[in-house]
């Protein structure tokens, strides 16, 4: 076995992966420290075997209220406690506004939290704020505030819209500045005196809805002085 890459516990002769529950580490958005669990460090084969023997995940409980469920769902949820029916009775961790209580806890029991779980059985007034926060993070992934923060979909929509609009405007201006002057025959028609006579023609021909230009003298064919 390669040294220090994967610790695979052997349970009843079957190979099972160590739980797939994500281990949070570092600092959350609320600024709390979350205990770092499950760091893998390079070790030798002997130490690895010793660790496996010592820290073999316990077998699912044969007694108790949910013993039959634990045996069946071990490969799905690991050693996480089943705390309710959840959504449609499946043992999954789902965070949703309309289903606020997931079926399983978020984390598996780890050695550092065992004393806290015992303390939790007593009076909650004896728990400090940090202990309460740790217990919360043991059962849930996010606080309600973290769950309800918007994902910023509207901002993405605005970015896309403004990007498309600006591309169109840049393309239009490049066309006006560089493509239109390409044909020299049309350049004369864009001059002011030509445009003035053109406007007079439009009015005389009844071609367009135009009120005319108040500064153009249509009788003389020149700008008013």
């Amino acid at each position: 076995m390669a040294s220090g890459l994967l610790r695979v516990p052997v349970i009843l002769g079957r190979r099972t992966l160590v739980t797939s529950v994500p281990r949070l580490s570092g600092v959350t958005t609320t600024g709390d420290e979350v205990p770092v669990v499950g760091i893998q460090v390079p070790v030798t084969e002997e130490e690895n075997s010793k660790w496996l023997l010592e820290n073999n995940p316990p077998a699912p409980a044969k007694k108790g209220r949910n013993a039959h469920l634990r045996e069946k769902l071990y490969t799905v949820i690991g050693n996480r406690d089943i705390v309710g029916p959840g959504v449609s009775g499946f043992a999954e961790y789902i965070e949703a506004e309309e289903f606020p209580f997931p079926a399983v806890r978020f984390m598996e029991p780890y050695p550092e939290i065992m004393p806290l779980l015992e303390k939790e059985k007593g009076d909650w007034k004896n728990l400090s704020i940090d202990e309460k926060k740790t217990l919360y993070r043991y059962s849930y992934r996010q606080t309600l505030k973290e769950e309800y923060t918007p994902e910023g979909l509207g901002k993405r929509l605005l970015i896309g819209t403004l990007f498309g609009l600006s591309c169109t405007m840049i393309y239009t201006q490049i066309t006006i500045d560089y493509i239109f002057p390409w044909d020299p025959r049309a350049a004369r028609t864009r001059q002011a005196d030509w445009q003035g006579v053109h406007l007079g023609k439009l009015i005389a021909q009844n071609t367009s809805y135009t009120p005319g230009d108040p500064y153009w003298d249509y009788d003389k064919g020149e700008w008013r002085k």
Binding site: E98, Y148, T149, T189, D193, Q205, S208
Partner: protein, 249 residues
């Protein structure tokens, strides 16, 4: 003719164009209603909290599904009924047709043939070509395709197509070489010019003036250089034009 920066319909010279404009306005009204409703619904669904937050309102909501099936069907029925009305009104031929014209598309100019029988039973007919005015400086001494001051580049022609105001007529459009399309939006007419085939279209201009258009079917390198200019004149002027008499300005 629309001006630079214009995004709306320009002046109409016939009932066909006015009906098309009316249809456009009705459909745009419905479109704005639908757009506003859908955008408001989307914003309401996505704005507060996570996306899954309001699933309870939208999952298995039979009333909502019924509304968004029935209302669009009703709107489509409205649009279809209006557009069928406009379609058949535009295709109606008013009898008797008092003037006939044959329009032939070439690469890259138009030929107009006029035919009329006056009250005495005498037949008048002639034809002329219509080329775009392209040059601002004459290339030869007898060059006719020169823009005068105030002309529109790629819209004005040397010999416009003349039709009378208020007289129902018919256009027979064909082509000499490749497929063209004779189109004047202000008259509400677009007729394909297919070689070997005569396409018939009714025409009834209600106002005196000048209407412009373009070829609408890609017909070669100079497809953009075959504009259409229609001069709508009074019946008396049209009669003088057909008899090739002098017309007072």
């Amino acid at each position: 003719m629309s001006q630079w920066g214009g995004t709306y319909y320009s002046m109409n010279f016939s009932m066909a164009a006015s009906l098309s404009k009316f249809l456009y306005e009705c459909i745009m009204t419905i479109n704005c209603f639908v757009l506003t409703t859908v955008v408001c619904g989307l914003v309401m669904a996505l704005s507060s909290g996570r996306v899954v937050g309001h699933c309870r309102k939208y999952l298995k909501n039979e009333l909502l599904e019924a509304i968004w099936t029935i209302v669009p069907a009703f709107l489509i029925y409205l649009i279809a009924s209006m557009s069928f009305y406009v379609l058949y009104m535009n295709g109606e031929h008013k009898e008797p047709t008092l003037f006939h014209s044959v329009i032939t598309g070439h690469q890259w100019y138009w030929t107009y043939q006029y035919a009329m029988i006056d009250e005495m039973g005498k037949f008048f007919g002639f034809e002329h070509d219509s080329y775009a005015l392209l040059n601002d400086v004459p290339s030869t001494s007898d060059d006719d395709t020169v823009l005068s001051k105030g002309d529109t580049y790629l819209l004005d022609v040397d010999a416009p197509f003349v039709i009378p105001q208020g007289m129902p007529g018919e256009l027979l459009v064909t082509s000499d070489d490749v497929i063209h399309s004779w189109s004047v939006p202000a008259l509400g007419i677009t007729v394909d010019a297919v070689p070997g085939r005569l396409n018939r279209s009714p025409i009834l201009a209600s106002t005196v003036g000048v209407a412009y258009g373009h070829c609408r079917e890609l017909c070669g390198v100079n497809h953009f250089m075959m504009p259409i200019c229609v001069e709508i004149v009074t019946p008396a002027t049209y009669l003088k034009f057909m008899k090739l008499e002098e017309i007072e300005e």
